[in-house]
Symmetry: C2
Subunit: 368 residues, 2 copies
């Protein structure tokens, strides 16, 4: 999407034909800078230190990491080393392993002197696939926004509330939950987004608000507490979020607080949609609320906040009393009964075992 | 309640017999200091600049402001001037006007030379009344906690979630929502409190966590997003909040985000109680959701956070992107249907017009 009026992706090949450029996401929303990755160690560091984040973008960065590794040394030993180096960065990221396994399968049978060119080709393909999937999700979601827009009085915006960052910065382009919003905006539909700040890590503030602002999409940042009130008073037409993991029955595991917004949407008869590439559906899980393990993250995310002081210094600050204990569950699970629909690259499915199986018969059949 | 092991109130007469001491609440939770008020202007400044906050404590500070004013000059003109000076500090605070009107009614008929001593007597009485009301609320709420404790396995705490600060720091002592908690703790019941940080102003972090910690009550600070997840997983036995204004039918207007917790409590069959002095019931309002006006506060509360940097400096920091618009509704209304009961100084009422009228017939009759 646009940054300062110029269309960008989150990762791209430089004009030299081999080095890779990424956006430095650690300094958002206070600065915009790019970083050059020149070898597999650069890529591993970019993932581990969260210069890139978001499952699809992590996968894409790992893909280019394999290509850069093959450029330096295309032996079997180097291939194995690159796999291990990249996999160790964030071992729980599903997309990372998926991308690495795919590269291992493609590259291993090839003679060493064909590996580099094929790795680059395959990394570009993986990125383009991500863009295509998200664009298709956007088209399906756009139809929903369009339907709402038709019922609105002229000049009044379609108000969409989103939580966390399921934006293009988490993917190669378009994002998931943001994709329908960008499509609607680009088509001239009057959309306005309520951006939950998304404590504790404030991805709404630092990423979603920034990317919407850069692309020119109307929005307001609100605290996570505000959405229920806005819904009660007719100021939200639709809730649209992403998901980190979706169970076969349509339960949605997303950033902590999503469940509260789904409850408020239901209480006020507002549609609650979730946008996702089908790769995030786990067909082996049939009860997300009971069975998806929820990561308990460091309490310092609750006690400390990143910001910019009046003198322009970006730093962290403590906001809780010394000695007060902290708890920090990072995700929650929204039960399928609260989900109006799952927007995937194959269309919109009801959040039920039957509807998901009908849309993805080849995957549902395997594990259920 | 206790501070560093010593029982305190939020406002008291000094040993000199005339000057008034308050706790400086602007520097919480990073420092604890008290301030001496020596005249009506000191009191007005303490209210206007939020050295004191919370409706009951504002009323008590205004009461001592009248006493200090009468000490300096007990003429009719001085009485009128003190009333105006104090009333202008926070014109929308109901308790402030209520306290001032009460003093005007008591002092005006008296000869000038009797006003000072009566004003001091009356200020002490007003403080003691607040303490008594909150203590009684605590006794009624304690019975609820006790009932839950009886059903818990030995050694497991009663887990109570609270939002914002309805604590003793907002009153003269005990607080409202915290009063049952302190009573339970003091009786040796194993209680543990989940403290919502309560964005945007973080009163949960800066006040509730601080006062619970000082009194030795077990607690964890959580982000406002976390409560729903905790309730889904059996980690909350009861939600207990305060209210700024309650309509005759039992709708509860409290800090933004309260409604979301009430929805989650209902979805998980967890009791949601609200503690309040009956002075906050507005018997002229019969539909709180539709009719209670919600204050839209400055966006800088959303964009900026107060904290302490690593070098020990307490300052504010910007956390949102430059130029991103902000919205900041300060309160929301929880519909009566989600409220398990209203804990008042006359007992626990169902959140219905009939139950409130039965408990307060003399007030309900007047305006309904």
């Amino acid at each position: 999407m646009n940054v300062n009026g110029v269309p960008m992706r989150t990762i791209w090949l430089n004009d030299d034909g081999w080095s890779v450029e990424i956006i430095d996401q650690t300094i958002f929303p206070f600065s915009f800078e790019t970083l050059t990755l020149r070898n597999v160690e650069d890529c591993a560091r970019a993932i581990a230190d969260m210069y890139v984040r978001g499952a699809p973008l992590i996968g894409a960065t790992a893909a280019y990491g394999m290509a850069l590794a093959m450029r330096d040394d295309s032996s079997d030993a180097a291939l194995a080393h690159a796999y291990e180096t990249l996999h160790a960065t964030r071992p729980t990221a599903i997309n990372l392993k998926w991308a690495l396994d795919r590269f291992k399968a493609v590259l291993t049978p090839l003679p060493a002197d064909e590996r580099m060119i094929n790795a680059y080709k395959h990394a570009a393909l993986l990125c383009d696939e991500d863009v295509a999937v998200n664009s298709t999700i956007g088209d399906y979601g756009l139809a929903l926004i369009n339907d709402i827009a038709k019922d609105k009085a002229p000049g009044t915006p379609v108000n969409i509330l989103t939580h966390c960052n399921a934006g293009w910065l988490a993917t190669v382009d378009w994002g998931t939950a943001t994709s329908p919003i960008y499509k609607a905006h680009d088509m001239g539909i009057n959309v306005h987004v309520w951006v939950d700040e998304t404590r504790p890590r404030n991805q709404g503030n630092s990423l979603t608000a920034w990317e919407l602002g850069q692309h020119g999409v109307a929005h307001h940042v609100i605290v996570d507490n505000a959405g229920g009130h806005l819904m009660q008073h007719g100021q939200v037409d639709m809730v649209l979020t992403g998901t980190d993991r979706t169970s076969a029955n349509g339960d949605v595991c997303n950033k902590i607080g999503t469940y509260l917004k789904a409850l408020a949407a239901r209480d006020n008869n507002i549609p609650f949609y979730v946008a996702l590439p089908s790769s995030t559906i786990d067909f082996s899980l049939h009860d997300g609320v009971a069975n998806i393990p929820i990561e308990e993250r460091s309490g310092t995310e609750v006690s400390h906040v990143l910001g910019r002081t009046a003198d322009g210094k970006v730093q962290t600050m403590q906001i809780t009393p010394d000695g007060s204990p902290l708890a920090n569950p990072a995700f929650d699970v929204t039960p399928a009964r609260l989900v109006s629909g799952l927007i995937t690259e194959r269309g919109i499915a009801a959040a039920t075992t039957e509807a998901l199986a009908a849309l993805f018969p080849e995957r549902a059949g395997k594990t259920s």
